[in-house]
């Protein structure tokens, strides 16, 4: 009996063994790695990462040697670009090791500037141990101070550490480390067996949509560049009896205005912004400004240098000549011709602008040079002329500190009255912790404008367009009672490139006669010594957070009215010089006018009556000093709201 039972058990076990072996044998195929036994027909992510050569596990990790799902998927990552694993995937030895480490320190991953601005909003102080970047904030286990909680719940969806696919809707599209930029189409999985599917498309030609996915709030440069003004949500003008269908992320409505001149030329973000700017230079900068390197002059006044003696600027090992670097990058791009020149332009940090090619060098005489910028998405060349020396109006004495944007960015989004409410008796999803925690933040904006910007001193002491950021925080405790002492009110401002560049610049009057542009706010200048400037809006009387008009950056004495994150308002001396030119402009309205060659000397001659009389219309002689006095009492133009000045510039309305 015992023998029979033993035999039965043995037979049953053998049966089970043979069956298991048979089931396993079905998955076995003669492939280079186990993954391909099941995922047999996967197309290549791109020409540079063929599945045949790379397999799957090189990027997606897992156990490439196993022919069994449970073992093969062990340790696998769906998104190799995720910064948590990037050093083992994209950044593995032999692939892109320096890039992965650089990206982790880049501002798109650290968000140091945003977090620092929030600390500033809440009084500027930060404990020594308080985190100042996303990675340390994600590891932060202590109680979160208001700026950190605010960041985690509202801002925390736009950083490269964010796992791709987390959350719903558009939130799921953001983040993902390297994939945030380099994946240009998500994978398409139609076969339920997963044997065949279209792999996500990988490219170094990052489309603008990948950038604008995040860069569409705050400074709104991604929208401004495309000529889109986020409006207040009425959906006007109505179409077919209802709100129009123009929507951007978050379901926000927008109006179409004139886009940036570069956008109209078909250029996208990566056509200007270098890899060093986007992926970082390996240094953990305190804010975005430190990471930027591209300047308008790099293309518009290019300094083509012969490559002889220039090596290692690309950081490649072993060092490579710029021509080889350019040829390699062009080949990787896939749409761009290999350079036929040995002269190249480098950014201020030494990045090779490989898409910029010299066509004809400028002569020492008046003949301009010719250059071509190859668009990175389609490789189409954009040819343009450039001068060997700056044109007169670009070399006008006294304008050395002006950035190109100061004159060529005529419009800028400016929002006022951002009201931030925090209710401690409610909960909200913490995007860094991945769970609901107590305290709910919400934001409401009073109004936004899309108008001529104020000028201020920006990074590198250059004069740039600036935009205010007024924030009023209201904190309500667990009993829904307002806590004024924990509710900061701040009027911040920041100078930045609004990305609304136009070929036609602002006029001289726009700066020298308009008090708003100078930073004094909308108001009236007069010759009265007691009150030389009268603001159109008195903030003090209205109980507003700042004394002048909302646009004012400073008072007439040069005292800043707003807290600048970087830079500040124009200096008092600069303001005096700018105002000093204003009275002359009605007559001396050309750059070439001789009085501007040495304006201080011209004023001296006028003051000492050595200057000749100037003539208005007709034959009536008017002395300049009379005109000067009269012009001091001009009234600055009314603020230009969207839809007035730029109505003629709209593409469609």
């Amino acid at each position: 009996m015992r023998i029979v039972l033993t035999l039965i058990v043995v037979i049953l076990m053998l049966g089970a063994l043979v069956r298991t072996e048979y089931e396993r044998s079905l998955a076995r195929k003669d492939v280079s790695e186990g993954c391909l036994a099941c995922h047999a027909e996967v197309d290549d992510p791109d020409a540079l990462h063929p599945v045949k050569s790379f397999g799957c596990a090189t990027c997606h990790l897992g156990n490439a040697f196993a022919f069994e799902k449970r073992r093969a998927h062990q340790g696998m990552v769906l998104n190799p670009g995720d910064l948590r694993v990037a050093s083992q995937t994209c950044g593995r030895e032999g692939c892109h090791p320096s890039h992965a480490e650089r990206v982790k320190r880049s501002v798109m991953a650290t968000n140091t500037g945003i977090i620092a601005s929030l600390y500033r909003l809440w009084g500027g102080s930060r404990g020594e141990d308080q985190p100042l970047d996303v990675q340390s904030l994600m590891a932060w286990t202590g109680p979160k101070s208001p700026p950190l909680d605010y960041f985690s719940k509202l801002c925390g969806s736009c950083h490269l550490w964010r796992p791709l696919g987390e959350g719903g809707g558009e939130f799921a599209e953001r983040g993902g480390g390297c994939s945030a930029c380099h994946i240009i189409r998500r994978h398409e999985m139609t076969d339920p067996t997963r044997a065949r599917f279209k792999h996500a498309e990988l490219s170094m030609r990052a489309p603008m949509a990948n950038c604008v996915r995040c860069h569409n709030r705050s400074a709104r440069i991604g929208l401004t560049y495309q000529g889109r003004l986020e409006d207040d949500g009425y959906g006007t003008p109505h179409e077919d009896g209802g709100p129009n269908q123009r929507r951007i992320t978050g379901g926000r409505h927008y109006q179409e205005l004139i886009p940036d001149v570069h956008f109209r030329a078909g250029m996208v973000c990566i056509d200007c912004h270098t890899g060093t700017e986007l992926m970082g230079d390996g240094i953990s900068h305190k804010s975005l400004v430190g990471q930027l390197e591209i300047r308008c002059e790099d293309c518009h006044a290019p300094q083509f240098r012969p490559e002889a003696g220039i090596v290692n600027l690309s950081g490649a090992s072993p060092p490579e000549l710029p021509s080889k670097n350019a040829a390699r990058l062009s080949a990787l791009n896939g749409h761009m011709p290999s350079p036929a020149t040995d002269r190249f332009v480098f950014s201020q940090k030494g990045s090779l602008l490989y898409a910029l090619r010299l066509v004809d060098a400028p002569s020492s005489g008046p003949t301009p040079g010719k250059a071509a910028l190859y668009r990175k998405l389609d490789g189409a060349p954009l040819s343009y002329a450039f001068d060997a020396t700056p044109r007169p109006h670009h070399a006008l004495p006294g304008h050395e500190r002006l950035s190109c944007q100061a004159c060529h960015s005529p419009i800028m989004p400016q929002c006022y009255g951002c009201h931030i409410t925090m209710r401690q008796n409610e909960t909200q999803y913490d995007k860094l912790l991945g769970r609901e925690t107590s305290g709910k933040w919400s934001e409401e904006r009073s109004y936004a404008r899309f108008e001529t910007p104020v000028l201020a001193v920006g990074p590198n002491n250059r004069i740039m367009p600036a935009s205010p950021c007024q924030a009023e925080v209201s904190v309500f405790d667990q009993n829904a009672i307002f806590r004024p002492l924990e509710s900061p009110v701040a009027s911040l401002a920041r100078a930045f490139d609004p990305h609304s560049t136009q070929k036609t610049s602002r006029s001289c009057r726009d700066c020298h006669l308009e008090t708003k542009t100078m930073g004094l706010g909308v108001g009236r200048m007069s010759a009265q010594k007691k009150q030389p400037f009268r603001s159109a809006y008195d903030g003090n009387r209205s109980g507003f957070v700042q004394p002048g008009s909302p646009e004012a950056l400073m008072d007439l004495s040069g005292r800043p009215l707003l807290d600048f994150v970087v830079g500040g308002p124009l200096e008092k001396a600069s303001l005096a010089r700018i105002r000093g030119v204003g009275p002359c402009l009605p007559c001396h309205n050309r750059y070439e006018d001789s009085i501007y060659r040495n304006f201080a000397d011209s004023l001296d001659r006028l003051g000492s009556r050595r200057a000749s009389s100037c003539f208005m219309s007709g034959a009536r002689p008017v002395q300049c000093d009379t005109l000067f006095r009269d012009n001091l009492s001009h009234r600055s133009p009314r603020p230009v709201v969207s839809g007035e000045r730029f109505r003629d510039m709209r593409i469609s309305y």
Binding site: T6, V9, V10, M13, A16, L17, T20, E21, R24, S25, A27, R28, G34, L61, G62, N63, F65, A66, F67, E68, R70, R71, Q74, G75, V85, Q88
Partner: protein, 294 residues
């Protein structure tokens, strides 16, 4: 009535233990020989590739590997129980020193087989275990570096020394040490069949553990279960002390038990017992610590 039946059952188990051990050993040797044909001991990733191919690609490889693992672990457990039993019964008092040393050496060889087998998994844990072993051996003054070279290789030959030890050197030594046992206690057919059925059934049902991949965090790596106590000690104590001096001292003390008499024997016995208890507690504590905090 019940207690006497239980006592009888336990006694039968004890009596069958050598037979079960030898049955497991035979199964382990047999499966090991078959696996050795497919195992690739040289090369970086090739070692793990060959292990994974055995597990998932070679026909019946998964079963052989599980069977080899299960029978090897059974041998190790039974060797510990066997040695522990004789130690607790203080039979060293009436055993010839050479015979007692043979018992101690047999246990040591079993433990080394477990360790080298763990290294030969070829995964990240195997590499780490091999590295720890080599580092510990290097701590031995004068002969350390040489000894380390015999335990673990360099570069692509990393797995070659443990492979030679596991397949060609240690098994014959173990068989030599067991020589008398094999002659006397050759397993009965029924014991062998029962052992084979249990181990075979276990190998069919319980899946092989997943390998540790190279990207896995080192902090989560654990050694073979018999060496967890040592791993815990290495986290706090100098390697030379807890990895070399202490094990060598305790092993020597264990071997000399038959020649100690009176209070010295009792003291040595208690010391070894206390260390065994502490080691077990450390191992358990390490497992708990790893599962909760790491």
């Amino acid at each position: 009535m019940n207690s006497s039946r239980a006592a009888n059952g336990l006694r039968t188990l004890w009596l069958r233990m050598p037979s079960v051990f030898l049955s497991s050993l035979l199964i382990c040797l047999g499966s090991g020989v078959l696996l050795a044909f497919q195992y690739q001991p040289a090369g970086g990733d090739e070692v793990m590739r060959s292990v994974e191919e055995i597990t998932t690609l070679i026909p019946y490889g998964f079963f052989l590997r599980r069977l080899h693992f299960a029978s090897g672990q059974t041998c190790a457990i039974l060797a510990i129980l066997h040695t522990g039993r004789y130690f607790l019964k203080k039979t060293y008092g009436r055993t010839a020193p050479a015979e007692w040393t043979r018992l101690a050496l047999g246990l040591a060889v079993c433990l080394l087989l477990v360790l080298t087998g763990f290294i030969l998994k070829g995964d990240a844990e195997g590499v780490r275990a091999g590295t720890v072993l080599a580092s510990l051996l290097r701590e031995i003054p004068l002969i350390g570096p040489v000894l380390s070279g015999f335990a673990v290789g360099q570069g692509n030959s990393f797995f070659m020394p443990p492979f030679l030890l596991h397949c060609l050197i240690l098994p014959p030594i173990l068989l030599l040490l067991l020589g008398k046992h094999i002659r006397v206690r050759l397993p009965a057919q029924s014991t062998f069949a029962a052992t084979a059925l249990v181990l075979g059934g276990w190998s069919l049902i319980v899946p092989m553990a997943l390998p540790a991949l190279s990207g896995d965090p080192a902090a989560e790596a654990t050694g073979p279960w018999l060496f967890l106590g040592l791993q815990a000690m290495l986290m706090r104590l100098p390697p030379l002390l807890c990895g070399v001096t202490l094990p060598a001292g305790l092993f020597t003390l264990f071997c000399v038990l038959p020649i100690l008499r009176g209070t010295r024997a009792a003291a040595a016995h208690n010391l070894l017992l206390a260390f065994a208890a502490m080691y077990a507690a450390l191992s358990l504590g390490f497992v708990l610590y790893s599962s909760i905090f790491v």
